[in-house]
């Protein structure tokens, strides 16, 4: 069960008040008619599906009903930060990876999306607000 901090209500509330809405920060093409089939299909159907750090959209459905973003780890499920619409995450796979490198820890390899996303780096992450 998640205990989620809503950046608008400024309170922690139980998971059941919220709905996850998938990957955050997806921009609708400014001129859909000008899109190639490839670009349009990518926009509609292709999502990052990282085993590691994920930025995702949630809605506080039975609370303030506002949308906001969460940075969450998809293996440990740890919520690393929540932030308002229009804001950018402060914790990313890359930022964690560089933290790991500084600590002389070996960076997990195996694909674009798992970089630096070991469970270790998450529990030690300092930027976590919640």
């Amino acid at each position: 069960m998640f205990n989620i901090y809503c950046p608008y209500c400024e309170e922690h509330r139980e998971e059941e008040e919220f709905h996850p809405k998938g990957q955050a920060h997806i921009q609708r093409p400014t001129d859909p008619d000008a899109c190639s089939d490839k670009a349009w299909g990518d926009y509609l159907f292709f999502r990052d599906n990282p085993r590691g750090i994920h930025h995702e959209l949630w809605v506080h459905a039975v609370g303030c009903r506002k949308f906001f973003n969460i940075t969450r780890h998809t293996v440990s499920y740890a919520i690393l930060e929540t932030y308002k619409m229009g804001e950018q995450p402060t914790i990313t796979a890359e930022s964690l990876a560089s933290e790991e490198k500084q600590g002389d820890v070996q960076v997990a390899d195996g694909g674009l999306q798992t970089v630096g996303a070991s469970d270790n780096s998450v529990s030690e992450s300092k930027g976590a607000k919640v």
Partner: protein, 416 residues
């Protein structure tokens, strides 16, 4: 490979069952294979089995990071049916159904396939219209199906609350008599033993960590036990497929979600069919051991953790008790989760990829167990011939750019 038979059982009883042959070897990886299958779930093992049996390709390795069947294959709720709406998916699932009907004999392993029928309940007028449409489509495709009214449902399942007092009264159902359940781990083990018997190497505790790609063509894989070569690689990795695709430099239209299930304490036989409801949102059957096998929906967030949240479990059980008040005092014994690879149109991906020689079979999401034999059969054909099997061809990744989606959200409404 020693054949199993009634006679063998008697013979081994005389030596106190101490001389049974191991079901498969534990081989050391070779440097090079003709075909590598990544993922030792049911679909991967079936692919290896049919590659060897139907196409004579036996220099094959199945590479599994954990243990055989330890992914979704032995975590699912074992429902098998083929009553899908569209021609493409109906053909693929019905192909599997026909193989299920002879599977135990074919692989000489009792998969306990039990055709006890599946009910898909309707609780609204629109549900009933959709059911009519789907059953008619099924019958045109030669798939058995009937539309039942509430009385017909009550006759089949006397313990279900089909009264008008229910919060969401049952109006009717679709009924596929040939559908049912099978023992999921026996499916993995049976295919594994069959493949091993044909000389396929089953490499457990071996994780693929990358692909060797030269001039856009796959030539092997990196693993935690060293590099292994092959010019044909089939990835059958369910919830981890996006991770593997990224290793090969492309993306898939998948999201990985936790899907949970639970079983109760064992009860005396009380439910002899499978009951599913999209609307109240839960499904239930009773295993041969007597436990109620229960499931419902995915957790809405992305997750690779093989576990989900309690509210999902609670909603699932609410739905079951709504349909079966008689079960309200039953205690649950175990609860677990798998990682399902959901696809935007609720249909799988069986496809070539931007990397030559690299094929993917994934996106089965919440409902691929039923397809295991058909998926393995068609995928093996595709790997052997270097072109997609006619039944698999409509399920190419290209459909997400061409728009030729196969929308099975209706037939796949409750996640199983």
């Amino acid at each position: 490979m020693q054949r199993y038979s009634g006679f063998g059982l008697v013979k081994h009883a005389l030596s106190h069952h101490e001389n049974w042959q191991r079901q498969w070897r534990n081989p050391t990886p070779k440097k090079e294979y003709d075909v590598i299958i990544v993922g030792g779930g049911g679909h991967g093992l079936a692919t290896a089995y049919y590659l060897a049996k139907e196409h004579g390709i036996t220099n094959v390795a199945v590479i599994e990071k954990g243990w055989l069947g330890g992914g979704n294959t032995a975590r699912n709720t074992t429902i098998v049916r083929s009553n899908y709406l569209w021609d493409e998916s109906a053909a693929l699932y019905e192909h599997a159904m026909k193989l299920w009907e002879g599977l135990s004999q074919d692989i000489n392993y009792n998969v306990m396939f039990s055709q006890r029928g599946v009910l898909n309940l309707g609780h609204t007028l629109q549900d009933m219209r959709d059911i009519q449409r789907r059953v008619n489509a099924n019958r045109l495709n030669g798939i058995d199906g009937e539309v039942l009214d509430a009385r017909g449902v009550q006759e089949l399942v006397p313990i279900m609350d089909c009264s008008k007092r229910a919060r969401y009264p049952v109006m009717g159902a679709s009924w596929q008599p040939r559908a049912g359940v099978a023992r999921h781990d026996a499916v993995a083990w049976g295919y594994a033993r069959g493949a091993d018997g044909h000389g396929v190497d089953l490499l457990q505790q071996t994780e693929v960590t990358g692909f060797k790609i030269v001039d856009g063509r796959v030539v092997g894989v990196h693993t935690n036990r060293g590099d292994i070569g092959a010019k044909t690689v089939g990835c059958v990795t369910a919830g981890n497929s996006s991770v593997l695709a990224n290793m090969a430099g492309f993306n898939l239209p998948l999201e990985s979600h936790p899907l949970q299930a639970l079983v109760s304490e064992p009860l005396k036989p009380i439910l002899d069919t499978v009951v599913m409801s999209n609307h109240v949102h839960g499904y239930i059957s009773q295993s041969d051991k007597g436990d109620l096998v229960i499931g419902a929906g995915i957790d809405g967030y992305n997750g690779y953790g093989q576990r989900g949240s309690y509210p999902t479990v609670e909603h699932t059980l609410q739905a079951i008790v709504e349909m079966f008040p008689i079960f309200s005092r039953v205690r649950m014994n175990r609860q677990w989760g798998g990682i399902v690879d959901t696809c935007p149109d609720a249909c799988p991906i069986l496809s070539k990829t931007p990397v030559k020689g690299l094929y993917f079979n994934c996106g089965w999401g919440t409902g691929g167990f039923k397809a295991t034999p058909g998926s393995g059969h068609a995928f093996a054909w595709s790997l052997a011939k270097g072109q997609m099997h006619p039944l698999a061809a409509p399920f190419s990744i290209d459909r997400f750019h061409s728009g030729a989606l196969i929308d099975e959200h209706g037939a796949a409404g409750v996640a199983h």
